[in-house]
């Protein structure tokens, strides 16, 4: 055929936001908006104070740490249901080892983090080598970790270790009145978040995770170490789960097998609201931060209102999830349609 249209060589470079950033940006705006609305409703009772703002972080830092790990998993196209159980097991081990076995608390912290990483690693091996679907492999991990908690004790164990008590109580006061502070959990969360961002954006491993989540067949054919990537993601998330458990132990000073039931779903929903695509390949740790904060603000609404049942959190999160998943589908649809139009020209 003689009359063929010119190949489109260049795309007009104009200012435009890449469509893949939109869910994360939407989460950011939603957070700002929900915070502003909270200010309008409860401003007279101190919703807008720095104290209230920082408490969103101090209350949810453990969730945030877990969300960073979960972001890795979801970008790689997987899912991890074990995070709540592994975190609970961590609180249990910390309490038991320090209270019953009188072990050195620094050693215990190290062991707990190593165990979490190892459990994540093993789930990764199951998924990668035995081709067990992530949902099933991490379900196994979830039951195993939860069961181990009760094997140790069916009671709640209080943490009295002086070092852990000191660490848990340590805080930096930002303003005196009303008192606003950040604690060690917030600092650890910040470190984990920044590390997560740097790993995802600037290391071979992080870029490999994106490639793997985008198209694992291609990632393999492009010569990426896909096994290492996949197992690494679950190991990292195992570490984050254990660390989340450590922060929760600082928060409650107790270890208990009933801690953090259903945390995995809060974390997954926050990550999705934060703009990570469950199909993999797209997402940002910073988006998950906003996901967690939105979750935190909803909790604040309920505590400021005082009359609402805390189950409203679940309903609100459910509605938000629905909206964000609809938004993601819409974006995929728009992207596909644009592609179609591009192809026709």
């Amino acid at each position: 055929m003689k009359e063929m249209k010119e190949v489109k060589k260049t795309k007009k470079s104009r200012f435009s936001i890449d469509i893949k950033y939109i869910p994360a940006l939407a989460a950011m705006f939603l957070f700002i908006a929900s915070y502003a609305i909270g200010g309008m409703l409860y401003g007279d009772r101190g919703f807008l104070t720095l104290r209230n703002f920082t408490s969103i972080f101090t209350d949810n830092a453990y969730l945030g740490v877990s969300a960073v790990g979960m972001t890795f998993v979801i970008i790689s196209g997987g899912i991890d249901l074990s995070v709540g159980s592994v975190a609970a097991l961590s609180t249990m081990l910390i309490a038991w080892c320090t209270a019953e076995l009188n072990m050195d608390s620094r050693l215990v912290l190290g062991l707990v983090l190593a165990l979490g990483t190892f459990m994540g690693f093993m789930m990764g091996v199951l998924i990668d080598k035995l081709k067990v679907p992530p949902f099933i492999a991490t379900l196994i991990g979830m039951f195993l970790a939860r069961g181990l908690c009760f094997l140790i004790s069916i009671q709640s164990i209080t943490i009295n270790d002086p070092l852990l008590r000191t660490l848990g109580r340590w805080r930096i006061r930002l303003v005196q009145r009303p008192p606003a502070h950040i604690n060690i959990s917030v600092i650890i969360f910040a470190v984990v978040l920044v590390t997560g961002i740097v790993i995802m954006q600037y290391t071979k491993f992080g870029r490999g995770v994106y490639a793997f989540g985008g198209n694992r067949q291609s990632a393999m054919l492009m010569g990426l170490p896909t096994s290492r990537i996949q197992i690494g993601v679950y190991a990292f998330n195992g570490f984050c789960s254990a660390l989340a458990g450590v922060l929760f132990a600082f928060y409650t000073f107790s270890g208990y097998g009933r801690h953090l039931y259903g945390m995995e779903l809060d974390v997954i929903s926050s990550v999705v609201i934060g703009g990570s695509l469950l199909s993999g390949g797209v997402g940002y740790p910073i988006g998950s931060l906003f996901g967690i904060m939105i979750h935190g603000v909803i909790l604040k609404y309920i505590s400021f209102n005082g009359k609402l049942s805390s189950w409203w959190t679940k309903i609100a999160v459910g509605v938000l999830l629905l909206l964000f998943i609809a938004l993601q589908r819409f974006i995929v649809y728009v992207a596909d349609r644009n592609k179609k139009i591009l192809k026709e020209h």
Partner: protein, 502 residues
């Protein structure tokens, strides 16, 4: 044995799969700075040979020499490290990563543990500008056309300091200008001393670019020829092992022109797809659809199959206005569609041949009607024989069949539903000459038996040879109709290009 100019040499390669002797003592020599086409029908062993050379399969016998050294690639990555890179028809890149990353992922320029994005994007831009492609390398890959993606795949492949580049059907989804562009790049690489193995089904492209041609047939080497000294007819004859005449002997079914109208569109429009299209398909007639990619020819078929819904106008089935809400309904009304992209929309590769054949039938009977295993087997056996699908048995996975056989399988699936209207969208794309002739003959047989057929193809000579009437599509609208007596390639080309054809 060794040729001093040889870059890559395969000697007496043997490869067997259960039930198939895929390569029988095949020799192949690629020299520095040449484009070497590998030709043969589907199942001749081209892909198997390539997969042996790139380490996807291990070889059962023979030797591979690369620059005089004996090698045994164990994986595509290993082959790439040795200097043998391949680019496949399906672009194997990550759509969510940026263009620059797709070129560099896995070997990014690093500073300590960190990726140097700026440097990476700069070199990506430089590499692509060598190909005369000027795009924003920071955008994600999926914002660009398949053609650009293909060239990015090539950029990635040769950036691994490749000496041998294997292009497996790189042009099947490109239009003419894009192919031209690709060939420019190929020529440049060739002049830099790279050896290029080229596989395609387009004969014209073979002659346009190749220096040498190696022909395989049934897993055996037929011979190696200089492209200049081999005529097209001779080449096809060597590939098929029989005369080219067979293809040219295909000719349309005579039609009185006043057969019963089976399906018709009356001024039908559908959003984003076609505008104001009227047409009729009659019993025992083949209606050809011609037009460029995206002209609306595929979309018109989709409307008749209930995949896209008309926003205005009427679809009539044997005179009665109908609303085709879904493909399931179209199937119940005895309409069948063989889609353009058989891998994506047609074949379910993981299922067996039998299961693939039964699928559409099941759709017509409803999900809950059980079709007896015995009946399934009979049906599968019948169509395998009828269409000449080359397979040891009906339980082979459909994904393991060659392109031509997959196409026959799709036909078989639809024939099992005993359709009255058959919509064929590019049924001969990506399959070899022999299989093409077979598919065309089968289609004409069906037509003779009374089926109404829509035949959509970019291969104009096929359209001319098969059709009783050709509908010209342009910019989503029907721009003309050419009757049987005025039918020739020139007339179609003129009509597509914009002359008045009616």
């Amino acid at each position: 044995m060794e040729d001093p100019a040889a870059l890559l040499q395969a000697s007496k390669i043997e490869k067997s799969f259960p039930g198939v002797h895929a390569l029988k003592k095949v020799d192949f020599t690629l020299r520095k700075g040449e484009v070497h086409s590998l030709m043969g029908e589907n199942g001749a062993g081209k892909s198997t040979l390539i997969k042996c050379l790139t380490g996807v399969y291990g070889i059962d016998g023979g030797d591979i020499y690369f620059q005089g050294q004996s090698i045994r690639p164990t994986s595509p990555q290993h082959a790439a490290r040795l200097g043998i890179s391949s680019v496949y028809q399906e672009v194997n890149l990550c759509p969510n990563l940026s263009v620059a990353e797709n070129i560099f992922v896995g070997r990014e320029p690093m500073k300590g543990p960190f990726v140097r994005w700026k440097a990476m994007e700069k070199s990506a831009g430089e590499i692509l500008s060598r190909f005369d492609i000027h795009i924003d390398v920071r955008r994600s890959l999926d914002s660009y056309s398949i053609a650009i993606q293909q060239m990015i795949a090539i950029a990635r492949a040769i950036n691994v300091s490749a000496q041998v580049l294997i292009l497996d059907e790189p042009t099947s989804s490109l239009d003419k200008t894009e192919v031209g562009k690709l060939f420019e790049i190929v020529r440049r690489l060739k002049s830099e001393g790279m050896g290029i193995i080229f596989i395609t089904h387009f004969l014209d492209q073979v002659y346009e670019i190749s220096d040498r041609i190696t022909v395989l047939r049934n897993g055996e080497l037929v011979g190696e020829y200089k492209a200049k000294g081999l005529s097209k007819i001779a080449l096809v004859t060597k590939m098929v092992g029989k005369d080219y005449d067979e293809l040219t002997s295909v000719s349309r079914v005579e039609s009185g022109g006043d057969n019963e109208v089976v399906i018709s569109l009356e001024e039908v429009s559908a959003r984003h797809s076609i505008e104001n299209v009227s047409l009729e398909l009659r019993r025992s007639e083949v209606v050809g659809f011609a037009g460029l990619l995206g002209s609306g020819r595929t979309e018109a078929a989709n409307v008749m199959f209930g995949l896209e819904h008309n926003s205005s106008g009427t679809v009539r089935l044997k005179g009665t206005a109908v609303r085709l809400a879904s493909p399931a309904e179209a199937i119940r009304r005895r309409i069948a569609l063989c889609p353009e992209d058989r891998k994506r929309d047609g074949i379910i590769g993981e299922l067996s041949i039998r299961e693939n054949i039964i699928l559409a039938l099941q759709a017509r009977y409803g999900l809950f009607k059980y079709i007896k295993k015995k009946q399934q087997n009979e049906m599968a056996g019948k169509y395998i024989e009828l269409l000449g699908i080359a397979t040891p048995d009906s339980e082979k996975k459909a994904g393991e069949l060659s392109g031509g056989n997959q196409q026959k399988l799709i036909l078989a699936r639809w024939l099992a539903t005993e359709p009255e209207v058959m919509l064929l969208d590019e049924p001969t794309r990506g399959i070899d000459v022999g299989a093409k002739a077979e598919i065309m003959k089968l289609t004409l047989d069906l037509c003779r038996q009374g089926m109404a057929i829509a035949f959509i193809s970019s291969e104009l000579d096929e359209v001319v040879r098969m059709s009783n009437k050709v509908i010209i599509m342009r910019d989503r609208a029907k721009t003309g109709e050419i009757a049987e007596k005025d039918l020739n390639q020139d007339a179609i080309l003129r009509a597509i290009a914009g002359g008045d054809a009616s």
